[in-house]
Symmetry: none
Subunit: 266 residues, 3 copies
């Protein structure tokens, strides 16, 4: 039973991390490792690839170098994320997790991408060109696009005022007028990263609004959101996951009520 569980944990670890498990599996952290790799990562509803976006956000938030390095490596080495998707994840994370932590993540991504190519004896492909941007340069058109994207993505009928540094120059001009609209990462993946980041940052309004929008838009199902909370809990800890879980329950009820009301009105 014990040996079987250890084998199960080791196999699961190798599958997720694409490297052999730690040699010493006798310490008290082993139970946690079994739980995380043999139980959480193997669960249905969210794929291993889905779980990577949540986990990458958590380890980039958590400031633990080795887990960050290992998960960046595993996500790219497994082929679950393309390099373009990983780079867009870094940019998306920068907005929701903060620029300094994203700088470190960006460095780690470049380093591990090089490392993977070294291991394979292949050259690193040349980078894709940033320009031309897919969003308009004209400030008026950008703000208008940002307002529309803000409403669509947040499932709201209003956008914040332009004439305000944080909202105008930050949120409308850059976050929704450019960042969320970039190609290279799907809306579903952006939702996974965003909810993990706001749950870590735990400012009450953003958690509520992003959980709501992810459910209301149907980009994530109710069951997928529950799994997100569990994966998040395994990597960011129980208290923040409990807090997220509470918001999820509230927003499920709100969305369910809104959908019911929409069906009643033609």
């Amino acid at each position: 039973m014990v040996a079987e569980s250890a084998a199960r944990g080791s196999t699961a670890f190798t599958e997720v991390m694409t490297t052999p498990p730690p040699a010493d599996t006798s310490g008290p952290l082993t139970g946690l490792l079994d739980f995380v790799f043999a139980d959480v990562w193997q669960r249905p509803v969210l794929s291993r690839r889905d779980r990577r976006f949540i986990t990458l956000a958590c380890v980039a938030d958590a400031d633990a170098d080795r887990p960050l390095r290992d998960h960046v490596y595993a996500a790219l080495n497994s082929g679950d994320l393309t390099f373009t998707e990983m780079q867009e994840t870094v940019l998306h994370f920068a907005v929701y997790g903060g620029w300094p932590k994203a700088s470190r993540l960006a460095m780690m991504v470049d380093e591990q991408w090089q490392h993977i190519h070294d291991e394979r004896g292949e050259p690193v492909p040349p980078p894709a060109s940033l320009l031309p941007l897919s969003t308009p340069s004209d400030p008026e058109r950008r703000l208008a696009l940002g307002e529309q994207a803000f409403k669509d993505i947040n499932c709201l009928e209003f956008a914040p005022p332009r004439d305000h540094p944080f909202h105008g120059a930050g949120i409308l001009n850059f976050v929704f007028g450019e960042m969320w609209l970039r190609p290279g990462l799907g809306m579903r993946e952006r939702r996974l990263v965003t909810v993990a980041c706001v749950a870590f940052q735990d400012a009450p309004f953003p958690i509520m609004s992003h959980v709501y929008a992810a459910l209301k838009s149907r980009d994530l199902s109710f069951d997928e959101m529950d799994e997100l909370a569990l994966q998040f809990g395994a990597y960011c800890g129980w208290p923040k996951a409990a807090s997220l879980g509470q918001v999820v329950e509230e927003q499920k009820q709100r969305v369910t009520a809104e959908w019911a009301a929409e069906q009643r009105t033609p």
Copy 2:
């Protein structure tokens, strides 16, 4: 098997939290809950009381209101911590976790202390007097005491320079010249809170120095430190716990080597 595990989880939850378990145990967080309460909290080496100091630091760091409230309540309601110990924990946490989070913790402690007395139909006892302080008031004598305490508590042969605002006015004058020396909380309990806080804050040097000093002073045994990392992992997440675990392994080796060298020299 499932029913047995659920009963085990429920019983363990009630014992730790001093309240009934959540009614709905069907969601994906249930597995995490069972793991945390039926496995981690029940482990040997650290007592339930010991685990409270680690957990309180983690939930106060994590900005999750309900877990914070529930763990403050449980720690006091169970009698595992006296009110004086809880208040000293707040002050100690303020230094290592930051005063803003400590302000919220302090408010929660007062609120739950009132709540417990209301439930019992008892009046809240009057507070103990702050003055006289047990540490000297004269700045020169305080700095000298702070330097000695810095060396003793950190197991170092030197203290930082006085003529430096952070080190002089902060570390020597207040943190080691007063805070660590206050009665009302044992050195062992201060170690548990400190290591949990530095592991959360994850600046490399403080983690290393506090893990080292807790082991070198023999205030915490090697096995106790391993259990600390596990309890911390359950509440602050796996990546930071893995990082802590790595530092613990390094510092165990360092301390073992130092003890061996000390035995060789008469």
Copy 3:
């Protein structure tokens, strides 16, 4: 137009960081880099020097070594902050961001101060003497001074009870009885650091009380507070900035109403 924007970003980067921009500007982070350096840092209302205090608090919170190093270097190398101001910023940050992160910041400050002098071929000047302190040593007089400073700085008519370790030994005796009153850093600069730290730590009551006091005291204008939130958002991520922005709006209304009431009463 495109080349012009890239040149704008590079020029702005060099001006702020006092070093050449990154060579590779093809990745997806380039857009964010342009946004942060060519847009946010160049905005009016807050000076580049003002923005440094906010940014230093954010990068010290974020646990990312390279951004921390680069911003400490830039703040000192540009001459925007004196060494004394930087040291007081470390002490102030320690209280609101936690001592472990402050320890790392302190080490980085000493290291970069040395590095700057090495680059210039100049010796590092000797430190200023810590003693005598400018605040009273007698505990009773310190507590009285701490109570008055608590009221003045927080714009409140009451102070917390002395007979409470966190409030008495911590808040009144040290934080307001000494730290806030130290010379070497202006009240306006302390406000910038404090609001950035409480917004990062995001315990609701401290955010509210420090935003309120900064506005009520007129140490920061309404427009300056909006710019603070934008600068903070660029470095700590949008979720916490959105939360801060919400508190700012509420406190502007509260302060406006209070000022109107004060004008009506002679």
